[in-house]
Symmetry: C2
Subunit: 316 residues, 2 copies
């Protein structure tokens, strides 16, 4: 697959930060930045921009706040064409913390939002666009979106927002490729002036396959993380995306070195990947939080009991 | 996805045997058989039927030979609708070792063949069909097949063979879903009187996605292994197939128990799964043998050097 418009977007530090309280050492973040730069990756997301009024820097690492100065330190002196991104959550950002684009090392701001919060997301994204940033809206938990509400949100995003890219986010790793095809086609049919992006989770080992499926149907922004690092089952492995894309500007070698030197040791400290409780929450289209709790308990390998416990939630 | 004709085919012991010289303890094989029976899986493959003139039972475990008596012992007393299968390789089977169907616990024989050996495969499959078995031909290394030779082989299989099912086998885990679609449609268009099967390898985490892709285009025999066990990167995880298929006859719970009780401990003894050197051989459409050798060496995590070594093979 060679389509020049495809942009590879790395969110290793941002999504990976969800399993270590965003507390990566600056040295590690610098190694990731260096490798992505050499590999020709288009974007790197450094973390979240959360308000320090809501979260204490004593409890969380630097990459939950992404101060410009911390970012500048890790990129200093490295030759790079990688554009930097930060993510903001609706209701968790203090917009006054965000300087104008010309005064910041950050090029892109991505706003993560549920369908129900789309008005807030549009306000934020337009604010950041007016400050000069490239912007995206990432619609989370898309596997749970009601079709009429999703349609309305997409029309609003097309007509009212200045976002450059609208992402579909399979937060629960629940979607099969038929639904990816359905959703990307829907996004493309409504979002005439925007690019479409895909952010897939790997609960059912479908993150890469679903990313390819989205590319086939014209999604041009594709998220990945090095060695699939990310919360719970993790994300689409960046190295597989680079192996698939035929654009000669990409080079997989620096990422292979990065995995050998940094991610194999990291795997001894953090848990992510294909683990049955995460597969179960994916199959059942559930948030992974119950599985994350299970993995910290002494019942971590009691898969049948865990499965039954999710089936047993009474609904009316 | 609910299509009653879809048959779920487990090859845990057969494909898993490739990483332990087919030396699973009878107790373990019995546990697998019991769980598959409770889960409603359609077929279970016990191993290979190799000639003892070519391979010594001193060097290999029982499941490289699959004597009827060994099979009978592990299934004895377990209520089951699972049909048993064995695999034979062209040029490695002594056909006189195979009793008539009515005298054997085995219901199906699968013949593994490269495109170039299709005449030998047809001879074998017709011989076993005449002995009363259900039969398949599994075309290996399909990612390397030349289109004209594959077309001719498929026409021969349709016209000259008594096989019930023809499988496409992505031996190297190299195919993306566009090629799966292309191949399954080709198989269906030529094999008017046969079912089509899919056997995927997981080098690029695409085994499950490619299996779904094949199902979408009307493949009705789908191979999986419990927890993806298999040589190198392993296979399509059976538990994900059961989570995807909506036929109420399937029950994932016994497989979850089996993974908890048998496969989590097994993972401490055998290596399989998403490991970068296997991803690299998948990306490059190569046999995994170089990666398997690497993983037994002291350079097991030297990914860049391994990648370069495969690129460096001069061809003319």
């Amino acid at each position: 697959m060679f389509r020049e418009k495809i942009k590879v977007f790395d969110c290793t530090i941002r999504d990976g930060g969800l399993i270590n309280n965003h507390d990566f050492e600056p040295r590690f973040v610098r190694e990731v930045y260096k490798a992505l730069s050499e590999a020709g990756v288009d974007y790197m997301e450094m973390g979240y921009k959360n308000s320090k009024k809501l979260f204490s820097p004593k409890e969380f690492g630097k990459w939950k706040f992404c101060d410009d100065d911390d970012i500048k330190k890790v990129i200093d002196g490295i030759e790079s064409d990688v554009k930097l991104s930060i993510m903001v959550d609706v209701d968790r950002v203090d917009i006054d913390d965000v300087k104008p684009r010309k005064d910041s090392p950050v090029a892109m701001i991505r706003v993560a939002s549920y369908v129900k919060d789309i008005d807030k997301a549009i306000f934020l994204v337009n604010h950041f666009a007016d400050k000069g940033y490239e912007t995206t809206v990432n619609i989370m938990a898309i596997s749970r979106a009601l079709d009429n509400e999703l349609n309305e949100a997409l029309h609003q995003l097309e007509e009212e927002s200045k976002a450059n890219v609208i992402y579909l986010v399979d937060s629960f790793g629940a979607l099969y490729q038929e639904s990816i095809e359905f959703l990307v086609k829907k996004f493309k049919s409504i979002l005439k002036t925007k690019e479409v992006g895909i952010h897939a989770h790997n609960n059912q080992q479908l993150a890469f396959g679903n990313t390819i499926e989205a590319i086939i149907h014209d999604a041009n922004f594709v998220d990945g993380t090095v060695y699939g690092l990310g919360r719970a089952a993790g994300n689409c492995p960046l190295e597989l995306i680079l192996g698939f894309l035929k654009n000669p500007k990409f080079d997989i070698r620096p990422i292979l070195d990065l995995i050998s030197n940094e991610f194999i040791p990291l795997q001894k400290k953090l848990e992510w990947g294909y683990i049955i409780p995460y597969a179960i929450t994916g199959i059942l289209d559930e948030h992974p939080k119950a599985a994350i709790a299970l993995r910290s308990s002494d019942k971590k390998e009691n898969y049948r009991e865990f499965y039954e416990s999710l089936l047993g939630e009474d609904l009316d």
